[in-house]
Symmetry: C2
Amino acid sequence: MSQFLRPNIRAMAGYTPGEQPRDGEYIKLYTNEKPYPPSPRALDAMAELLRSDRLRKYPDPLGTAFRHSAGKLLNVDPDSILIGNGSDDILTILTRAFVPEGGLVVSPTPSYLLYATLADIQGARFEAVPFTNDWRLPTPWPKPDAHLTLVANPNSPTGTVVTNQALEGLAKELRGPLIVDEAYVDFAETHAVGLTRLSNVIVTRTLSKSYSLAGLRFGFAIAAPALVRELVKVKDSYNCDALSLAGAQAALEDQAYFQQTHAKIIATRARMSALLPKLGFDVLPSHANFIWATRTDRPVKPIFQELKNRKILVRYMNYAGHGDGLRISVGSEAEIDRLLDELQKLL
Amino acid sequence: MSQFLRPNIRAMAGYTPGEQPRDGEYIKLYTNEKPYPPSPRALDAMAELLRSDRLRKYPDPLGTAFRHSAGKLLNVDPDSILIGNGSDDILTILTRAFVPEGGLVVSPTPSYLLYATLADIQGARFEAVPFTNDWRLPTPWPKPDAHLTLVANPNSPTGTVVTNQALEGLAKELRGPLIVDEAYVDFAETHAVGLTRLSNVIVTRTLSKSYSLAGLRFGFAIAAPALVRELVKVKDSYNCDALSLAGAQAALEDQAYFQQTHAKIIATRARMSALLPKLGFDVLPSHANFIWATRTDRPVKPIFQELKNRKILVRYMNYAGHGDGLRISVGSEAEIDRLLDELQKLL
């Protein structure tokens, strides 16, 4: 059967699922989930839906109620919002809308590895543009002709941000669309939604990280309404289920709970940023819910392995030309206490 | 911005969302939802998940627990199962895996309109092969060179089936893969899962219809394990959320409830099939949870409109070369009583 596959699919490396430790066995600090539960209002909204007659019926394909809530929160036209089954679904839709077979996808590196995979699936080329040494975008931008340019901001694994001014400059240099992937933006100080006034800027969001809903799969994009109407043609009609639409809407509406758990993350992040250097790590100032920790005095891979032996999972990452490091999610205070304890013992 | 879109996307007709009547206002007999609630065990499994710590974490990307249950029920290797966010997601994955830009997608007509849309999004051509007058597949098959051939079986809107022998003959004629879309197969007498022993046959399923879970978005494919491993590369890693995985698994495991609601559908379908002809409709023997009702004595579109005025929604469909008809979902006994009453009054 594999002879029927498109050559680009056949050539792709097989997917290796991330580690799935059993609950309770490991402290998970490697996929940037939030350590606090989702909004009780979101859970209530979904529980209520389970008691209703709605699950046997098709969901609203446009997510009208969600879009109104999100529009209100972000101060944008609800028609400028596209709903997605996670922001990965949104990124897939954007790739399919803009990138032809043999086209070009570009993103800074090191960054989110999915961008290259999306290009592979589409049968397109992927090129990475290195960040400058101080984690800015190079100017002039060397690849203005891409069919799609993606910038994760805040970036993963570094947690660094580029300014809206830099993003606007890039958007103006590009001859194609710019996606600002704001998966982590709720942990930063600013966002780029205002840049969607430019005709080639699209901002993407997820509820997986800052709203503690990674298991629910919900994300969205913000773009010009005329473009959203085009993108709707590319998505599966019913890409978002009734539970996720109800849960996502209620989660966004519960800003009081959001702020409360958010403040805890910011406090724990500050503590990690202060203490990890005392253990010999070089730490970038993080605007996300993780810390990128590197060191020059000794290799970090054995530290990753030692932590794993002690039932703490962090993410070891190695980027050609940029070296390796540990990406450590901002966990609960207790989880980070354990992490720092174990690091102290083993270093 | 639309100048950046791929030409095939720009050329597509804009999506017109289906009618979304407010609950209770209309009797919905137009999207083939099942009139009975989902399995109580499925609802319990999802409610339990809401009370757990799992929603803030990423779901299992491969759906291992679901695949084991489905494998057991269907008597296939769990590794031959691919999970999807509805069977529309599965059909999208298959199109992306097999069909290059400029490639060819073929299906019999009249059938599920999504197949042509999937070709459009992929930048491929779509060609329709008319069923024979007695709703069989023509032999020899005129388009053996398609990159993807899709046969809905049972077919929509007709509710007719082709035999496994016919499908096997088609699979052997084809030089590419054959998708047997079994969205409605639980309402039929046989299925084609056994044909996946052929190297180019893939069967797709959904829980939207026969398991009353249209709002949950869950479907799956059955294919050779080596092929499933390739298709996993094309899907979004986390295409299925934790709630749908838990709900779908529990629904499949609750065969007692399934059989009980299933028997009601089959009984109501028999009643509709017997009574609609008495009202002047020509009715094909249905193997699905809807009836395709046509008539030669008068146009059916005004009947559709009259029913709508009386708060009953059925699906009016018009296929070039095949004429038009009403596709009427098998509702509850009370809903069908209302339908037959109103039809009697207006005819």
